[in-house]
Subunit: 283 residues, 2 copies
């Protein structure tokens, strides 16, 4: 792989750029981004080698589309219009059904692989890019059978070199499951942050009384609204379903407390303690 | 300080024991616990030097009561019955109003200091004890004026030696604020864990799709139900109030999504992003 194009030089795209450069030092990393300042920053930080345009995509061996999911819906077909026969293109979006549907009939559908690396931080922009972000992380690939065999191989080689674990899934199942384990966590954290901020007019109180537990639970409320709004929009039905169940569970917890049934409160927490073993699996 | 008694040799009491031993190497740490196996474990791990009984409390310079808050309500008056005139006793419970009320009329009220160190992890038991747990952590002291001046000084010296930041607060304000920044986070995490576990019958799906974001948001769901049930019970009114507001905020978020008002969703998240600066203050 010689010419690598990163569309969207933020946390996710930038982290791919850093790792790819260190795996394949002779390659050239081209960056495309709607933000001029992000491009300048990415060059200054050696995240990318050069800036480029869509017209340059015909020399690409690999194109990574790492922009908000609504922008991917618009731009992915254009990317596929511009590439060569041997180019592999993958996106990294947190929703997959809409995107797969959007390019289903594209003449270059075989050049595209639908990918969701389960990796990231709550930070954003080129300066948030991290070397090694993808090591030991799960990479979900959807509709793999729609991608040309040789191009699948090319992408899989990269993911293996990055140290990722591959899981195959259909886009519908991906979007349902991810609503629960990722999208809902973000809403839970954002609304926890809001609830506390609303209550505590005097911020010194929060500052002084909050510990590492609060910090951990609310961490995702630092995430970028520009990235997350389109995800909630494109995965609306699944997210609302998960939110409904979450709200029902919270209401049930409240009811047990109101009824002073603390034996039931205890049981409820003890059953959920089982999350320990699940989390040990994640680590 | 020569004779230090730790009642409850778990995460919190055990961590005090480790730090006190390293600050004052010539002191003797006595452990009292209803669990024989915890006492044996605490001795084996050098968390305490000896086991003891309530009858031995008359030789104590310092007694730390680090047991679930409902047990503190029952045992604190008995502790105060057994101590000498020069003993300082503090509890570390996550609720303060009930406890202060309980010992308000006790003849040895002046020997007691109501304390809440904002420190801990999601683990429990003697093996969870950590040296340095309290360094740079906030320590909330309630009704300081009810404690004898010389005994206040003794406790403050210890907290300063441990590297803690002291904040004074009345018990009522403590219980209201802590419901928001600590108790609510635990319910939020427990119910998030429950929602995902209920949904995902096949655990491999959770394991494979959950990343560090989910892990962080749900971390507190590993916490001990034996510790948390009494906290919810004793701080019921404040916790229910915070839970109500949290549920309302989640319902509002859902409504904005249902109405497809994603501009409002964006604004809501952007306003809450401000939590970044608050969290920077915590670290």
């Amino acid at each position: 792989m010689k010419n690598i194009f990163i569309i969207g030089v933020g946390l996710i795209g930038g982290s791919f750029a850093l790792d790819i450069k260190s795996l394949y030092p002779t390659c050239t990393i081209f960056g495309i981004d709607k933000s001029e300042s992000h491009l300048e920053e990415a060059i200054a930080l050696n995240v990318i080698d050069k800036t480029a345009n869509f017209e340059d995509l015909n020399i690409a061996d690999l194109v990574i589309v790492a922009i908000p999911v609504d922008a991917t819906l618009t731009l992915l077909p254009k990317v596929l219009d511009h590439i060569a026969d041997t180019t592999i293109v993958f996106d990294v979006g947190s929703t997959k059904e809409n995107i797969c549907l959007k390019v289903k009939e594209h003449k270059n559908r075989r050049n595209y692989l639908a990918v969701h690396p389960i990796a990231g931080t709550e930070h954003s922009g080129p300066k948030a890019a991290l070397q090694g972000l993808y090591k030991n992380k799960t990479n979900i690939i959807c509709e793999v059978e729609e991608t040309a065999f040789k191009l699948q191989e090319k992408a899989l080689k990269l993911f293996t070199d990055l140290g990722m674990r591959i899981r195959y899934m259909n886009p519908k199942a991906h979007d349902t499951h991810i609503a629960y384990v990722s999208h809902l966590s973000h809403i839970s954290a954002f609304m926890l942050g809001k609830t506390v901020i609303d209550k505590e007019r005097n911020e010194r109180d929060i500052f002084d009384m909050a510990g590492s537990g609060f910090e951990s639970t609310v961490r995702l409320a630092k995430s970028s609204p520009a990235m997350w709004t389109p995800i909630f929009k494109l995965n609306k039905t699944n997210v609302i379903a998960s939110l409904d169940e979450y709200i029902e569970n919270l209401k049930h917890f409240k009811k047990m407390m109101e009824a002073e049934d603390f034996e039931a409160v205890y049981q409820e927490m003890e059953k959920t303690n089982h999350i320990k073993e699940i989390l040990n699996g994640i680590q």
